[in-house]
Protein backbone atom coordinates (compact mmCIF):
# COMPACT_ATOMS: atom_id res chain seq x y z
CA UNK A 1 0.00 0.00 0.00
CA UNK A 2 2.72 2.48 1.05
CA UNK A 3 4.75 1.52 -1.98
CA UNK A 4 1.77 2.20 -4.23
CA UNK A 5 1.28 5.61 -2.62
CA UNK A 6 4.93 6.47 -3.15
CA UNK A 7 4.76 5.30 -6.77
CA UNK A 8 1.65 7.39 -7.27
CA UNK A 9 3.25 10.51 -5.83
CA UNK A 10 6.34 10.06 -7.98
CA UNK A 11 4.22 9.52 -11.08
CA UNK A 12 2.47 12.78 -10.18
CA UNK A 13 5.67 14.70 -10.88
CA UNK A 14 5.53 13.58 -14.51
CA UNK A 15 1.86 14.50 -14.81
CA UNK A 16 2.49 17.88 -13.18
CA UNK A 17 5.19 18.79 -15.72
CA UNK A 18 2.92 17.58 -18.53
CA UNK A 19 0.00 19.63 -17.21
CA UNK A 20 1.95 22.79 -16.33
CA UNK A 21 2.46 23.73 -19.98
CA UNK A 22 -1.20 23.23 -20.81
CA UNK A 23 -2.22 25.27 -17.78
CA UNK A 24 0.23 28.06 -18.62
CA UNK A 25 -1.06 28.31 -22.20
CA UNK A 26 -4.65 28.44 -21.07
CA UNK A 27 -4.02 30.74 -18.11
CA UNK A 28 -1.89 33.29 -19.95
CA UNK A 29 -2.67 33.01 -23.66
CA UNK A 30 -6.29 31.82 -23.18
CA UNK A 31 -5.52 29.13 -25.71
CA UNK A 32 -6.43 25.46 -25.37
CA UNK A 33 -3.68 23.61 -27.16
CA UNK A 34 -5.14 20.26 -28.18
CA UNK A 35 -1.77 19.40 -29.72
CA UNK A 36 -0.08 19.62 -26.29
CA UNK A 37 0.29 15.83 -25.98
CA UNK A 38 1.70 15.60 -29.48
CA UNK A 39 4.17 18.37 -28.66
CA UNK A 40 5.29 16.20 -25.74
CA UNK A 41 5.77 13.24 -28.07
CA UNK A 42 7.69 15.49 -30.47
CA UNK A 43 10.05 16.36 -27.59
CA UNK A 44 10.54 12.67 -26.89
CA UNK A 45 11.15 11.90 -30.56
CA UNK A 46 13.69 14.72 -30.88
CA UNK A 47 15.59 13.45 -27.85
CA UNK A 48 15.43 9.88 -29.19
CA UNK A 49 16.74 11.04 -32.56
CA UNK A 50 19.63 12.90 -30.91
CA UNK A 51 20.53 9.81 -28.89
CA UNK A 52 19.90 7.04 -31.38
CA UNK A 53 20.89 8.73 -34.65
CA UNK A 54 23.27 11.50 -33.59
CA UNK A 55 24.90 9.40 -30.88
CA UNK A 56 24.60 11.95 -28.06
CA UNK A 57 24.19 10.89 -24.46
CA UNK A 58 20.82 11.40 -22.79
CA UNK A 59 21.67 14.50 -20.68
CA UNK A 60 23.13 16.23 -23.75
CA UNK A 61 20.07 15.28 -25.80
CA UNK A 62 17.79 16.72 -23.10
CA UNK A 63 19.89 19.90 -22.95
CA UNK A 64 19.45 20.38 -26.71
CA UNK A 65 15.84 19.26 -26.96
CA UNK A 66 14.39 21.64 -24.39
CA UNK A 67 15.61 24.90 -26.01
CA UNK A 68 14.61 23.49 -29.41
CA UNK A 69 11.11 22.81 -28.08
CA UNK A 70 11.02 26.32 -26.60
CA UNK A 71 11.92 27.75 -30.01
CA UNK A 72 9.22 25.62 -31.65
CA UNK A 73 6.69 26.96 -29.11
CA UNK A 74 7.75 30.55 -29.79
CA UNK A 75 7.43 30.02 -33.55
CA UNK A 76 4.07 28.26 -33.26
CA UNK A 77 2.71 31.18 -31.23
CA UNK A 78 4.21 33.73 -33.60
CA UNK A 79 3.15 32.06 -36.84
CA UNK A 80 0.01 30.07 -36.06
CA UNK A 81 -1.59 30.55 -32.64
CA UNK A 82 -1.64 34.38 -32.75
CA UNK A 83 -3.51 34.32 -36.04
CA UNK A 84 -5.83 31.56 -34.87
CA UNK A 85 -6.72 33.53 -31.74
CA UNK A 86 -8.02 36.38 -33.90
CA UNK A 87 -10.59 33.97 -35.35
CA UNK A 88 -12.75 33.67 -32.25
CA UNK A 89 -13.46 30.58 -30.17
CA UNK A 90 -13.64 27.79 -32.74
CA UNK A 91 -10.67 28.54 -35.00
CA UNK A 92 -7.97 27.98 -32.31
CA UNK A 93 -9.50 24.61 -31.43
CA UNK A 94 -9.67 23.52 -35.07
CA UNK A 95 -6.13 24.79 -35.60
CA UNK A 96 -4.70 22.70 -32.77
CA UNK A 97 -6.68 19.64 -33.90
CA UNK A 98 -5.08 20.09 -37.32
CA UNK A 99 -1.68 20.63 -35.74
CA UNK A 100 -2.08 17.47 -33.66
CA UNK A 101 -3.00 15.38 -36.71
CA UNK A 102 -0.10 16.85 -38.68
CA UNK A 103 2.37 16.16 -35.88
CA UNK A 104 1.18 12.59 -35.40
CA UNK A 105 1.41 11.73 -39.09
CA UNK A 106 4.59 13.75 -39.56
CA UNK A 107 6.30 11.84 -36.73
CA UNK A 108 4.94 8.58 -38.14
CA UNK A 109 6.50 9.44 -41.49
CA UNK A 110 9.80 10.57 -39.96
CA UNK A 111 10.30 8.05 -37.16
CA UNK A 112 8.05 5.10 -38.03
CA UNK A 113 5.35 3.55 -35.89
CA UNK A 114 7.56 1.42 -33.63
CA UNK A 115 7.47 2.01 -29.91
CA UNK A 116 10.60 3.78 -28.75
CA UNK A 117 12.22 4.32 -25.40
CA UNK A 118 15.18 6.09 -23.89
CA UNK A 119 15.28 3.46 -21.15
CA UNK A 120 17.92 1.43 -22.96
CA UNK A 121 20.24 4.44 -23.06
CA UNK A 122 20.41 5.23 -19.35
CA UNK A 123 21.99 1.99 -18.19
CA UNK A 124 20.99 0.64 -14.82
CA UNK A 125 19.06 3.81 -13.93
CA UNK A 126 16.00 2.50 -15.76
CA UNK A 127 15.62 -0.39 -13.32
CA UNK A 128 17.75 0.54 -10.28
CA UNK A 129 15.93 1.10 -7.02
CA UNK A 130 16.46 1.74 -3.34
CA UNK A 131 15.39 -0.95 -0.92
CA UNK A 132 13.67 0.84 1.94
CA UNK A 133 12.59 -0.55 5.31
CA UNK A 134 9.28 -2.43 5.10
CA UNK A 135 10.43 -4.21 1.96
CA UNK A 136 9.61 -1.18 -0.16
CA UNK A 137 11.40 -0.72 -3.46
CA UNK A 138 11.67 2.84 -4.71
CA UNK A 139 12.84 3.28 -8.30
CA UNK A 140 15.72 5.71 -8.69
CA UNK A 141 14.51 7.03 -12.05
CA UNK A 142 11.01 7.97 -10.77
CA UNK A 143 12.62 9.73 -7.79
CA UNK A 144 15.00 11.68 -10.02
CA UNK A 145 12.14 12.57 -12.37
CA UNK A 146 10.02 13.74 -9.45
CA UNK A 147 12.88 15.85 -8.07
CA UNK A 148 13.45 17.31 -11.55
CA UNK A 149 9.74 18.15 -11.74
CA UNK A 150 9.94 19.91 -8.36
CA UNK A 151 13.00 21.88 -9.44
CA UNK A 152 11.46 22.83 -12.80
CA UNK A 153 8.08 23.84 -11.35
CA UNK A 154 9.78 25.61 -8.42
CA UNK A 155 12.03 27.48 -10.84
CA UNK A 156 9.06 28.43 -12.95
CA UNK A 157 7.26 29.64 -9.82
CA UNK A 158 10.28 31.80 -8.97
CA UNK A 159 10.36 33.20 -12.50
CA UNK A 160 6.67 34.04 -12.35
CA UNK A 161 6.83 35.69 -8.93
CA UNK A 162 10.29 37.27 -8.78
CA UNK A 163 11.12 38.52 -12.28
CA UNK A 164 9.84 41.31 -14.49
CA UNK A 165 8.91 38.77 -17.16
CA UNK A 166 6.97 36.77 -14.59
CA UNK A 167 5.08 39.83 -13.39
CA UNK A 168 4.31 40.67 -17.03
CA UNK A 169 3.01 37.13 -17.55
CA UNK A 170 0.76 37.35 -14.48
CA UNK A 171 -0.43 40.83 -15.40
CA UNK A 172 -1.25 39.75 -18.96
CA UNK A 173 -3.07 36.68 -17.66
CA UNK A 174 -5.08 38.87 -15.29
CA UNK A 175 -6.03 41.71 -17.66
CA UNK A 176 -4.31 41.95 -21.07
CA UNK A 177 -5.67 45.44 -21.77
CA UNK A 178 -4.53 46.86 -18.46
CA UNK A 179 -1.17 45.16 -19.03
CA UNK A 180 -0.87 46.98 -22.37
CA UNK A 181 -1.58 50.24 -20.54
CA UNK A 182 1.40 49.42 -18.30
CA UNK A 183 3.66 49.11 -21.34
CA UNK A 184 3.55 45.32 -21.61
CA UNK A 185 3.55 43.90 -25.13
CA UNK A 186 1.08 41.03 -24.72
CA UNK A 187 2.29 39.36 -27.92
CA UNK A 188 5.84 39.04 -26.58
CA UNK A 189 4.53 37.70 -23.28
CA UNK A 190 2.35 35.17 -25.09
CA UNK A 191 5.30 34.02 -27.21
CA UNK A 192 7.42 33.62 -24.09
CA UNK A 193 4.65 31.67 -22.35
CA UNK A 194 4.20 29.43 -25.41
CA UNK A 195 7.94 28.75 -25.50
CA UNK A 196 7.92 27.70 -21.84
CA UNK A 197 4.74 25.63 -22.28
CA UNK A 198 6.10 23.67 -25.25
CA UNK A 199 9.48 23.19 -23.55
CA UNK A 200 7.60 21.77 -20.53
CA UNK A 201 5.65 19.48 -22.87
CA UNK A 202 8.95 18.35 -24.37
CA UNK A 203 10.34 17.58 -20.91
CA UNK A 204 7.22 15.57 -20.09
CA UNK A 205 7.64 13.65 -23.35
CA UNK A 206 11.26 12.87 -22.42
CA UNK A 207 10.09 11.70 -18.99
CA UNK A 208 7.65 9.34 -20.69
CA UNK A 209 10.33 8.05 -23.05
CA UNK A 210 12.65 7.45 -20.06
CA UNK A 211 10.15 5.53 -17.96
CA UNK A 212 8.11 3.81 -20.71
CA UNK A 213 7.66 3.78 -24.49
CA UNK A 214 6.34 6.34 -26.92
CA UNK A 215 4.88 6.08 -30.40
CA UNK A 216 3.93 8.93 -32.74
CA UNK A 217 0.34 8.37 -31.61
CA UNK A 218 0.91 8.58 -27.84
CA UNK A 219 -0.05 12.28 -27.80
CA UNK A 220 -3.84 12.11 -27.36
CA UNK A 221 -3.57 9.99 -24.21
CA UNK A 222 -0.96 12.40 -22.81
CA UNK A 223 -3.31 15.27 -23.57
CA UNK A 224 -6.07 13.57 -21.61
CA UNK A 225 -3.77 13.07 -18.61
CA UNK A 226 -2.67 16.70 -18.81
CA UNK A 227 -6.27 17.91 -18.91
CA UNK A 228 -7.16 15.69 -15.97
CA UNK A 229 -4.27 16.98 -13.85
CA UNK A 230 -5.16 20.58 -14.73
CA UNK A 231 -8.83 20.13 -13.86
CA UNK A 232 -8.07 18.28 -10.63
CA UNK A 233 -5.52 20.88 -9.51
CA UNK A 234 -7.21 23.97 -10.88
CA UNK A 235 -6.08 26.21 -13.71
CA UNK A 236 -3.59 29.01 -13.22
CA UNK A 237 -1.62 27.75 -10.23
CA UNK A 238 1.60 25.77 -10.44
CA UNK A 239 1.05 24.45 -6.92
CA UNK A 240 -2.44 23.34 -7.99
CA UNK A 241 -0.98 21.66 -11.07
CA UNK A 242 1.52 19.76 -8.91
CA UNK A 243 -1.25 18.70 -6.55
CA UNK A 244 -3.43 17.73 -9.51
CA UNK A 245 -0.62 15.66 -11.01
CA UNK A 246 0.06 13.90 -7.73
CA UNK A 247 -3.65 13.24 -7.16
CA UNK A 248 -3.93 11.72 -10.64
CA UNK A 249 -0.82 9.62 -10.07
CA UNK A 250 -2.15 8.44 -6.70
CA UNK A 251 -5.54 7.57 -8.17
CA UNK A 252 -3.89 5.50 -10.90
CA UNK A 253 -1.61 3.77 -8.39
CA UNK A 254 -4.55 2.98 -6.10
CA UNK A 255 -6.59 1.78 -9.07
CA UNK A 256 -3.71 -0.42 -10.13
CA UNK A 257 -3.78 -2.08 -6.73
CA UNK A 258 -7.36 -3.17 -7.35
CA UNK A 259 -6.62 -4.41 -10.82
CA UNK A 260 -4.00 -3.46 -13.45
CA UNK A 261 -6.84 -2.72 -15.88
CA UNK A 262 -8.40 -0.33 -13.37
CA UNK A 263 -5.32 1.92 -13.09
CA UNK A 264 -6.09 4.41 -15.89
CA UNK A 265 -9.83 4.19 -15.24
CA UNK A 266 -9.33 5.24 -11.61
CA UNK A 267 -7.63 8.45 -12.79
CA UNK A 268 -10.50 9.18 -15.15
CA UNK A 269 -13.01 8.53 -12.35
CA UNK A 270 -11.19 10.96 -10.03
CA UNK A 271 -11.18 13.56 -12.81
CA UNK A 272 -14.93 13.17 -13.36
CA UNK A 273 -15.62 13.27 -9.62
CA UNK A 274 -13.61 16.51 -9.21
CA UNK A 275 -15.27 18.00 -12.27
CA UNK A 276 -18.72 17.19 -10.89
CA UNK A 277 -17.72 18.63 -7.50
CA UNK A 278 -16.48 21.85 -9.12
CA UNK A 279 -19.72 22.22 -11.07
CA UNK A 280 -21.77 21.58 -7.93
CA UNK A 281 -19.63 24.10 -6.04
CA UNK A 282 -20.31 26.70 -8.72
CA UNK A 283 -24.03 25.96 -8.54
CA UNK A 284 -23.88 26.12 -4.72
CA UNK A 285 -22.18 29.50 -4.72
CA UNK A 286 -24.98 30.81 -6.93
CA UNK A 287 -27.46 29.67 -4.28
CA UNK A 288 -25.55 31.25 -1.40
CA UNK A 289 -23.06 28.55 -0.47
CA UNK A 290 -22.92 24.94 0.59
CA UNK A 291 -24.95 25.38 3.78
CA UNK A 292 -27.98 26.65 1.88
CA UNK A 293 -27.63 24.01 -0.79
CA UNK A 294 -27.24 21.21 1.75
CA UNK A 295 -30.20 22.45 3.74
CA UNK A 296 -32.29 22.55 0.62
CA UNK A 297 -31.16 19.09 -0.45
CA UNK A 298 -31.76 17.53 2.97
CA UNK A 299 -34.99 19.20 3.96
CA UNK A 300 -36.69 20.43 0.85
CA UNK A 301 -35.73 18.61 -2.29
CA UNK A 302 -38.71 19.93 -4.19
CA UNK A 303 -37.60 23.50 -3.49
CA UNK A 304 -34.14 22.96 -4.94
CA UNK A 305 -35.61 21.09 -7.90
CA UNK A 306 -37.83 24.09 -8.49
CA UNK A 307 -34.84 26.43 -8.40
CA UNK A 308 -32.86 24.26 -10.77
CA UNK A 309 -35.68 23.99 -13.28
Amino acid sequence: MLEAILQGVLLGGYYAVLAAGLSLMFGVVRFINLAHGDMAVLGAMLALWLVQVMGLNVPMAIALTLPAMGAIGWLLQRLIFERALRGGFLIPILTTIGLAATLQNGMFAAFGSDTKSLGAHIGSLSWASWHLPGDIFLGKLPVYMFLTALVVLGGLHLILTRTGFGRAVRATASDPEAAALCGIDARRVHRGAAAIAVALAGLAGIFLALRAQVTPFSGPMMLIFAFEAVVIGGIGSLRGTLIGGIALGLAQAMGGMISPQFSILAGHCLFLAILALRMTEAAASERGGWRNTLTAVLFNRSQIKGRLS
Binding site: R167, A171, D185
Partner: protein
Protein backbone atom coordinates in the same frame (compact mmCIF):
# COMPACT_ATOMS: atom_id res chain seq x y z
CA UNK B 1 5.53 73.01 -27.03
CA UNK B 2 2.54 70.92 -28.07
CA UNK B 3 2.13 67.82 -25.96
CA UNK B 4 -0.86 66.25 -27.64
CA UNK B 5 -2.51 67.06 -30.93
CA UNK B 6 -5.65 65.42 -32.28
CA UNK B 7 -6.58 66.09 -35.86
CA UNK B 8 -10.15 65.27 -36.89
CA UNK B 9 -10.20 61.88 -35.16
CA UNK B 10 -13.10 59.48 -35.53
CA UNK B 11 -13.85 56.36 -33.53
CA UNK B 12 -16.39 53.63 -34.22
CA UNK B 13 -17.85 50.58 -32.56
CA UNK B 14 -19.15 48.73 -35.59
CA UNK B 15 -21.95 50.87 -36.96
CA UNK B 16 -21.91 53.23 -33.97
CA UNK B 17 -19.97 56.40 -34.71
CA UNK B 18 -18.84 57.15 -31.15
CA UNK B 19 -16.30 59.94 -31.74
CA UNK B 20 -16.92 62.34 -34.60
CA UNK B 21 -14.10 64.51 -35.86
CA UNK B 22 -12.48 65.84 -32.71
CA UNK B 23 -9.53 68.19 -33.16
CA UNK B 24 -7.57 69.52 -30.22
CA UNK B 25 -4.14 70.93 -29.45
CA UNK B 26 -2.82 70.71 -25.91
CA UNK B 27 0.31 72.67 -24.94
CA UNK B 28 2.68 70.99 -22.48
CA UNK B 29 1.53 71.25 -18.88
CA UNK B 30 -2.13 71.89 -19.66
CA UNK B 31 -4.78 70.48 -17.33
CA UNK B 32 -7.77 69.60 -19.50
CA UNK B 33 -11.10 68.32 -18.23
CA UNK B 34 -13.33 66.33 -20.57
CA UNK B 35 -16.98 66.37 -19.58
CA UNK B 36 -20.14 65.06 -21.13
CA UNK B 37 -23.17 62.92 -20.40
CA UNK B 38 -23.08 59.11 -20.42
CA UNK B 39 -22.49 57.87 -23.95
CA UNK B 40 -20.98 61.18 -25.08
CA UNK B 41 -17.79 59.45 -26.25
CA UNK B 42 -15.43 60.45 -23.42
CA UNK B 43 -14.16 56.98 -22.60
CA UNK B 44 -13.90 56.06 -26.28
CA UNK B 45 -11.81 59.18 -26.82
CA UNK B 46 -9.52 58.24 -23.92
CA UNK B 47 -9.20 54.67 -25.24
CA UNK B 48 -8.35 55.97 -28.70
CA UNK B 49 -5.71 58.31 -27.29
CA UNK B 50 -4.18 55.46 -25.28
CA UNK B 51 -4.15 53.12 -28.28
CA UNK B 52 -6.70 50.66 -26.91
CA UNK B 53 -9.29 51.49 -29.54
CA UNK B 54 -8.41 51.98 -33.21
CA UNK B 55 -8.68 55.44 -34.69
CA UNK B 56 -11.01 55.09 -37.68
CA UNK B 57 -9.83 58.35 -39.25
CA UNK B 58 -7.66 61.33 -38.34
CA UNK B 59 -4.35 61.44 -36.51
CA UNK B 60 -2.92 61.66 -33.00
CA UNK B 61 0.47 63.27 -32.37
CA UNK B 62 2.43 63.15 -29.15
CA UNK B 63 5.17 65.76 -28.85
CA UNK B 64 5.22 66.00 -32.65
CA UNK B 65 5.44 62.23 -33.20
CA UNK B 66 2.53 60.61 -35.04
CA UNK B 67 1.34 57.84 -32.72
CA UNK B 68 -1.94 57.08 -34.50
CA UNK B 69 -0.96 53.52 -35.38
CA UNK B 70 1.06 52.74 -32.25
CA UNK B 71 -0.41 50.09 -29.92
CA UNK B 72 -1.08 50.94 -26.28
CA UNK B 73 2.18 49.55 -24.87
CA UNK B 74 4.21 51.58 -27.37
CA UNK B 75 2.28 54.78 -26.58
CA UNK B 76 3.15 54.39 -22.93
CA UNK B 77 6.82 54.23 -23.86
CA UNK B 78 6.30 57.31 -26.03
CA UNK B 79 5.12 59.12 -22.91
CA UNK B 80 1.34 58.76 -22.78
CA UNK B 81 -0.34 56.87 -19.96
CA UNK B 82 -4.00 56.15 -19.31
CA UNK B 83 -5.37 55.53 -15.84
CA UNK B 84 -8.50 53.71 -17.01
CA UNK B 85 -12.07 53.76 -15.82
CA UNK B 86 -12.55 51.08 -13.17
CA UNK B 87 -8.87 51.33 -12.09
CA UNK B 88 -8.06 47.94 -13.70
CA UNK B 89 -5.48 46.90 -11.11
CA UNK B 90 -4.07 43.38 -11.26
CA UNK B 91 -6.09 41.97 -8.39
CA UNK B 92 -3.91 38.93 -7.62
CA UNK B 93 -0.73 40.97 -7.52
CA UNK B 94 0.34 43.10 -4.57
CA UNK B 95 0.29 46.87 -4.74
CA UNK B 96 4.10 46.81 -4.90
CA UNK B 97 3.99 44.41 -7.86
CA UNK B 98 1.40 46.58 -9.62
CA UNK B 99 3.75 49.54 -9.24
CA UNK B 100 6.78 47.48 -10.27
CA UNK B 101 5.03 46.54 -13.51
CA UNK B 102 4.44 50.21 -14.26
CA UNK B 103 8.08 51.04 -13.51
CA UNK B 104 9.61 48.13 -15.42
CA UNK B 105 7.74 48.78 -18.64
CA UNK B 106 7.55 52.58 -18.63
CA UNK B 107 9.81 55.35 -19.89
CA UNK B 108 12.12 55.68 -16.88
CA UNK B 109 12.58 59.05 -15.20
CA UNK B 110 12.07 60.98 -12.00
CA UNK B 111 9.03 59.05 -10.82
CA UNK B 112 10.19 56.15 -8.67
CA UNK B 113 8.52 54.18 -5.91
CA UNK B 114 9.79 56.75 -3.40
CA UNK B 115 8.54 59.79 -5.31
CA UNK B 116 5.20 58.14 -6.06
CA UNK B 117 4.75 57.47 -2.36
CA UNK B 118 5.67 61.09 -1.65
CA UNK B 119 2.92 62.21 -4.01
CA UNK B 120 0.44 59.53 -2.92
CA UNK B 121 1.27 58.83 0.72
CA UNK B 122 -1.86 56.72 1.19
CA UNK B 123 -0.16 53.98 -0.86
CA UNK B 124 2.73 53.43 1.59
CA UNK B 125 0.94 51.13 4.07
CA UNK B 126 -0.66 49.14 1.25
CA UNK B 127 2.45 48.03 -0.62
CA UNK B 128 2.38 44.39 0.38
CA UNK B 129 -1.38 43.93 0.21
CA UNK B 130 -3.10 42.27 -2.74
CA UNK B 131 -4.58 44.97 -4.97
CA UNK B 132 -7.88 43.08 -5.13
CA UNK B 133 -8.61 43.80 -1.47
CA UNK B 134 -8.35 47.60 -1.55
CA UNK B 135 -11.14 50.15 -1.16
CA UNK B 136 -12.23 52.28 -4.12
CA UNK B 137 -10.16 55.29 -3.07
CA UNK B 138 -7.11 53.15 -2.39
CA UNK B 139 -7.48 51.45 -5.76
CA UNK B 140 -7.70 54.81 -7.52
CA UNK B 141 -4.58 56.05 -5.74
CA UNK B 142 -2.66 52.89 -6.71
CA UNK B 143 -3.91 53.15 -10.30
CA UNK B 144 -2.68 56.74 -10.50
CA UNK B 145 0.61 55.70 -8.90
CA UNK B 146 0.99 52.87 -11.41
CA UNK B 147 0.53 55.33 -14.24
CA UNK B 148 2.89 57.90 -12.70
CA UNK B 149 5.71 55.46 -12.07
CA UNK B 150 5.84 54.81 -15.82
CA UNK B 151 6.98 58.45 -16.10
CA UNK B 152 4.49 59.66 -18.68
CA UNK B 153 4.59 63.18 -20.04
CA UNK B 154 0.86 63.10 -20.72
CA UNK B 155 -1.45 61.43 -18.20
CA UNK B 156 -5.05 60.60 -19.07
CA UNK B 157 -7.39 59.87 -16.17
CA UNK B 158 -10.76 58.37 -17.02
CA UNK B 159 -13.62 58.88 -14.55
CA UNK B 160 -11.34 59.88 -11.69
CA UNK B 161 -14.01 60.15 -9.02
CA UNK B 162 -16.49 57.51 -10.21
CA UNK B 163 -17.69 55.32 -7.35
CA UNK B 164 -15.56 57.04 -4.71
CA UNK B 165 -16.71 58.55 -1.42
CA UNK B 166 -16.45 62.35 -1.16
CA UNK B 167 -13.46 61.97 1.18
CA UNK B 168 -11.71 59.65 -1.27
CA UNK B 169 -12.39 62.05 -4.15
CA UNK B 170 -10.87 64.87 -2.11
CA UNK B 171 -7.78 62.74 -1.44
CA UNK B 172 -7.37 61.82 -5.10
CA UNK B 173 -7.66 65.47 -6.21
CA UNK B 174 -5.15 66.59 -3.57
CA UNK B 175 -2.76 64.06 -5.05
CA UNK B 176 -3.48 65.23 -8.58
CA UNK B 177 -2.85 68.83 -7.50
CA UNK B 178 0.75 67.82 -6.80
CA UNK B 179 1.13 66.76 -10.44
CA UNK B 180 0.09 70.13 -11.81
CA UNK B 181 2.98 71.63 -13.74
CA UNK B 182 4.87 68.32 -13.92
CA UNK B 183 2.91 66.84 -16.81
CA UNK B 184 -0.02 67.37 -19.15
CA UNK B 185 -3.20 66.08 -17.53
CA UNK B 186 -6.42 65.08 -19.28
CA UNK B 187 -9.19 64.23 -16.86
CA UNK B 188 -12.59 62.77 -17.62
CA UNK B 189 -14.86 63.93 -14.83
CA UNK B 190 -18.62 63.63 -14.28
CA UNK B 191 -18.58 66.14 -11.44
CA UNK B 192 -18.94 69.46 -13.25
CA UNK B 193 -18.02 71.62 -10.27
CA UNK B 194 -14.91 69.60 -9.60
CA UNK B 195 -13.90 69.69 -13.28
CA UNK B 196 -14.34 73.48 -13.47
CA UNK B 197 -12.36 74.12 -10.30
CA UNK B 198 -9.48 71.79 -11.17
CA UNK B 199 -8.94 72.21 -14.92
CA UNK B 200 -7.43 75.11 -16.84
CA UNK B 201 -9.31 74.14 -19.94
CA UNK B 202 -12.53 72.28 -20.46
CA UNK B 203 -14.12 70.52 -23.40
CA UNK B 204 -17.60 69.06 -23.49
CA UNK B 205 -18.59 66.12 -25.69
CA UNK B 206 -22.10 65.32 -26.78
CA UNK B 207 -22.89 62.32 -28.96
CA UNK B 208 -19.24 62.12 -30.02
CA UNK B 209 -18.96 65.75 -31.05
CA UNK B 210 -16.93 68.40 -29.22
CA UNK B 211 -19.63 70.93 -28.38
CA UNK B 212 -17.61 73.27 -26.22
CA UNK B 213 -13.99 74.24 -25.73
CA UNK B 214 -12.83 76.96 -23.39
CA UNK B 215 -11.49 77.91 -19.99
CA UNK B 216 -13.69 77.54 -16.92
CA UNK B 217 -13.38 81.29 -16.38
CA UNK B 218 -14.72 82.15 -19.83
CA UNK B 219 -17.57 79.66 -19.86
CA UNK B 220 -20.84 80.19 -18.07
CA UNK B 221 -22.51 77.38 -16.22
CA UNK B 222 -25.46 77.75 -18.60
CA UNK B 223 -23.25 77.25 -21.66
CA UNK B 224 -21.71 74.15 -20.11
CA UNK B 225 -25.07 72.73 -19.07
CA UNK B 226 -26.50 73.31 -22.55
CA UNK B 227 -23.51 71.60 -24.17
CA UNK B 228 -23.56 68.79 -21.60
CA UNK B 229 -27.17 67.91 -22.30
CA UNK B 230 -27.03 68.83 -26.00
CA UNK B 231 -29.82 71.37 -25.51
CA UNK B 232 -28.91 73.52 -28.49
CA UNK B 233 -29.17 70.43 -30.71
CA UNK B 234 -32.69 69.79 -29.47
CA UNK B 235 -33.58 73.43 -30.03
CA UNK B 236 -32.04 73.29 -33.51
CA UNK B 237 -33.99 70.15 -34.28
CA UNK B 238 -37.19 71.76 -33.01
CA UNK B 239 -36.58 74.84 -35.17
Amino acid sequence: MTALELHDIHGRYGLLHAVKGISLTLPTGTVLAVIGANGAGKTTLMRMLAGLHPTAAGSVSLFGQDVTLLPAHARLRAGLALCPEGRRLFADLTVRENLQIGAENGCGGDWTLATVIDALPQIAPLLDRPAGGLSGGQRQAVAIGRSLIANPRVLLLDEVSLGLSPAAVEGVYQSLERLRGHMTLVIVEQDLTRAMSFAERLICLSEGVMELDGTPQNLTRGQITDAYFGIHKVEGADA
